[in-house]
Amino acid sequence: MLKTFKKGGVHPPENKLSAAKKIEVLPLPKSVFIPVAQHIGAPATPVVNKGDLVKTGQIIAKSSSFVSTNIHSSVSGKVKKIDFSADSSGYPKQGVFIDVEGDEWLEEIDCSEEFVKEFNIDGPEIIKKIQDAGIVGLGGATFPTHVKLVPPKGMKAEVLLINGVECEPYLTSDHRLMLEKPDEILVGTQLLMKALHVEKAVIGIENNKPDAIELLSEKCKGYQGISVQPLKVKYPQGGEKQLIKAVTGKEVPSGGLPIAVGAVVSNVGTAFAVYEAVQKNKPLIERVVTVTGKNVANPSNFKVRVGTATSELIEAAGGLPEDTGKIISGGPMMGRAVASLDVPVTKGTSGILIIKEDESKRKEYMACIRCSRCVSVCPMGLEPYLLMTLGEKQIFDRAEQERVMDCIECGSCSYTCPSQRPLLDYIRFGKGKVGQIIRSRKK
């Protein structure tokens, strides 16, 4: 039976152009720029110096606090400099520039394709390995995975949800990974289950990926406690709270974490990275990235080393089309438009989407006609039209009352507004200000 979340949601055209394309290994770049902040939390501290020789998989920046992660070199070569450069946020971020020389991996890393199913390792050790490998949520939020695996005192995980929803239009990296590495994902899931002490895991997949549902359902039979839940296609089902609601029927309380309803959510890509970290000793230094767009010659899924410039990926997909207007890191609903092709692939880059010139600019917006579509599509039960006005007029106390902080920034309101109003822009602004006010109150 198909399940889905109840409140709100939209159906943007799927445009999964690269769904049938096998994951290809992108050739090694000549140089990489690896930012030390690729995750939510404190940036890592660089531990290499200019001129150092590094191997693939070697730590180049160390985790600086509990909510932080290690950063590893994705290539072997010489550290050219440690400097600032723009990442997909557009802001200059500190990172390590490395000139690639050969591809020499650390000895302890198992680079073979051989599948290792059995493991004999206890929970705390799994978490330690995940932490050492610098694994973060690969769905885009990049929250350090080891933090999620240690529930706050008094709370206990009951179920692990593996997010294979991929509700963003265009993106197919998770879909391809599920088709090509199902066993690895399932072993990764088992490792996460063991770390969390849960007996049950559910993989949520939207039914626009029937091949993945079928394959994983079949493979699941060989793994105790794991099942697949097909889901009705609806954006933003890949949102953590929406996925939990769809699969378990429970609502994460306002301001609370998924663990409050006994759930922990990890992406399929994260489960795969966990498999590699524990079974292969391989840190998170590469990921699958979809390169796509309506006028891209050859929409593709690439396995890419972290730190590779966006331009290399676009070149491999057939080059930058003539009428390109916008380049997005991520999907069209929540991704970030980048200002330059030098922006590197980081742990959270799920796709590179190229938008045509004529689709890249917003239309002029009109007055709100109070059609209430934004209210009906909001998956969090908020009133976007009101929150926009409160942001615009800077009435932050009222915005807080109206629960602006619950907004998950899915963009369903802006997407659906017939007057093309920039609802989410102003809501984000309000959210930022209200967040500041709340933090200053705590001090």
């Binding site: 055209p13 306002s254 609370g256 390109t324 989407l353 007055a367 006609i369 007057s419 093309q420």
Partner: protein
């Protein structure tokens, strides 16, 4: 790379719907009732519609350009909707200058004085109608006869005014009913009245199209019609000699027109389904109260305008169910 890339916050895609498309869908939904009015009242109906539409468009353009000094937005379709709705609310023999005054009241007072599309508190077409009704009561309440009704006369009263007059003269309903059209006639459109209110069937057809196209939701029309039906039904059961049966209340007057096309005006109705039901019940109660106990035979225009005024209050107190409780 030489070319500059566009950088903007997400989302980077947009549904292909627009406010203009919504307005034109409303216009399309009104076409059946509009065509029927021309068929029934002849060229006179066409004259009223053209004058109302052109006057509304012209006032919108002139006021925006010369008084407000902003870019005129006549093409957004909203003034067109107001014009047609205004025409729907008047008799087909209304003198042209009254229609023009009504259009000025609708667009100038009802809409642009509040700031234009999206900012008006009251439904502009109803502001225009009530302005005309109060200023020109005689012309606004003498309806040409429906050519499909088989009555040989120049002007006729609406079913509601026949009832109202009869009751105030002390005639029992059983006597009054002899002069009333049948329920079927009222449903299909063989009764006297304003342009747009004579055929419940065609109004419902337009309403179904708007429901299908998601221009409106069921909450407002259904709650209005149900409230009117239930309240009228209670009075009828208590004393059928002074209160007519609820079918007459539902099928006569502007009830269908008001419930389907006027009360559902997005700008002046509440945002949440729950709020819309409260608003609909309010309109139903006020409509029946005016019809049964007020001075006017018909009350839906006033009822909608009164509830329009409550819309901001309803929006303030009635919130959607938040995700995650509390």
């Amino acid at each position: 790379m030489s070319k500059l890339l566009t950088v903007s916050p997400s989302p980077h895609v947009h549904s292909d719907d627009s406010t203009q498309k919504i307005m034109y869908r409303v216009v399309l939904a009104m076409v059946p009732a509009l065509a029927w009015s021309v068929f029934v009242f002849g060229i006179d109906a066409l004259r009223v519609i053209l004058i109302a539409v052109l006057a509304c468009l012209a006032f919108e353009y002139l006021i925006q350009k010369y008084l407000m000094k902003i870019k005129p937005s006549v093409m957004d379709g909203s003034a067109l909707v107001t014009g047609i709705l205004l025409a729907f609310n008047v008799p087909s023999n209304l003198p042209w200058w009254i229609i023009i005054i009504g259009s000025l009241a609708a667009i100038g007072i009802g809409k642009l004085s509040f700031g234009g599309l999206g900012h008006n508190i009251f439904n502009p077409a109803l502001v225009g109608r009530v302005f005309m009704l109060i200023s020109f009561p005689v012309q606004m309440t003498s309806w040409p006869v429906n050519t499909q009704s088989g009555i040989d006369a120049v002007t006729s009263a609406t079913p509601l005014s026949i009832i109202k007059e009869g009751i105030s003269n002390g005639t029992p309903i059983s006597e009054i009913s002899k002069n009333l059209p049948s329920a079927l006639e009222m449903f299909w459109g063989g009764i006297g009245g304003s342009l747009g209110e004579i055929s419940a069937a065609l109004l419902i057809l337009g309403g179904l199209y708007m429901l299908y196209k998601k221009v409106i939701t069921w909450h407002i029309p259904v709650s209005i019609i149900a409230t009117v039906g239930i309240m009228a039904g209670i009075f009828w059961m208590v004393n059928p000699e002074i209160y007519i049966n609820p079918v007459y209340h539902i099928l006569t007057g502007g009830l269908m027109l008001g419930a389907i096309f006027m009360a559902t005006d997005m700008v002046s109705s509440p945002m949440t389904p729950k709020g819309q039901i409260i608003y609909g019940i309010g309109i139903g109660v006020i409509t029946i109260s005016i019809r049964l106990f007020g001075a006017y035979p018909e009350g839906i225009s006033f009822a909608i305008l009164i509830m329009n005024a409550f819309t901001p209050l309803i929006n303030y107190y009635v919130k959607p169910k938040r995700f995650g409780g509390k």
